[in-house]
């Protein structure tokens, strides 16, 4: 019961803040709602027994990625609003198609039945960090090293893009 209440509150907050992100007039307000959204997602992860993911969601997403967004929003000081001359119907057809696809997805989720809740006493131990570490550094060794190359490339790319201004 408590779990259901917590889930519905979390879900409402996530979707509410998500809607605010894409509708807010000021970009800075959008960024703020995005942070709130990510914090609520972190709360959801805690409920799903993924505390390590919850903290890195806060640390990397809320505390890193969105800080970068905020810095860029502040750097990009706009003389005129970017939405001034846009044609809302421009991508209308594509939007309808996308929405239809999502509706099909919803229908599929409903049609294919409701999954059972997780069985208690499964293999997911409460000591989540060790388990993730074991999987990450043995089975997923190659993706892990590739991730570092990806980060290296991202770092070099961003520096090259900004370098001319240094």
């Amino acid at each position: 019961m408590a779990e259901a209440v917590a889930f519905y509150i979390c879900a409402a907050l996530i979707l509410g803040f998500g809607a605010l992100v894409i509708t807010a007039k000021s970009t800075v307000h959008s960024v703020l709602y995005l942070v709130a959204d990510f914090l609520c997602v972190a709360a959801l992860y805690v409920m799903l027994q993924a505390p390590f993911l919850a903290v890195i969601q806060v640390m990397v997403y809320a505390g890193g990625i969105v800080v970068l967004y905020l810095f860029v929003v502040m750097l990009v000081n706009l003389k005129r609003p970017p939405e001034a001359h846009s044609d809302p119907r421009r991508l209308g057809r594509l939007g309808v198609a996308m929405a239809a696809a999502v509706l099909v997805e919803f229908a599929a989720i409903f049609a294919l039945g409701w999954a059972k809740p997780a069985s208690a006493g499964g293999a997911l131990s409460p000591n989540n960090v060790e388990q993730i570490g074991r999987a990450l550094y043995t089975d997923y060794l190659i993706p892990f090293e590739v991730a570092s190359v990806l980060l290296l490339v991202a770092m070099i790319g961003a520096i090259v893009l900004a370098k001319r201004e240094l």
């Binding site: 709360a43 890193g64 570490g133 090293e145 570092s148 980060l151 770092m155 240094l166």
Partner: protein, 118 residues
């Protein structure tokens, strides 16, 4: 397991409530005498002429970007640190390779002057 987080949730609620209630309470008792000049931003007595939200150095973007990359790197270090005894040499070499690749990027940033502020 999840129950261990309930006190934290309560703490967050209490913290926000403390902030909001204190501000509202202060709002009730403080004097409010507004004047146009009083509400101007402070610029050492000179009347502000331009908007404060102007363009500023791209250095701040670079610092935030480097922070983000290193932040992601440290989240890989923590699970490794927890089971470092178990992984032994294998894990150590893995992590040295990982750190080496990022240190290359670090020295690139250094060489390109992304770390200079003079």
């Amino acid at each position: 397991m999840v129950n261990a987080w309930v006190p934290i949730l309560i703490f967050i609620a209490v913290g926000i409530a403390f902030g909001v209630v204190t501000l509202l309470f202060a709002r009730l008792i403080v004097p409010q005498r507004y004047g146009r000049v009083k509400l101007e931003p402070y610029e050492c007595g000179i009347e502000p002429t331009t908007d404060a939200r102007d363009r500023y150095s791209i250095k701040y973007f670079l610092v935030a970007m480097l922070f983000l990359i290193f932040d992601v790197e440290t989240i890989f270090l923590y699970p490794w640190a927890v089971i470092v005894d178990e992984l032994a040499w294998f894990g150590f070499i893995e992590m040295v390779v990982f750190l080496f690749i990022l240190v290359v990027g670090y020295f690139y940033a250094w060489r390109e002057g992304a770390l200079e502020w003079a």
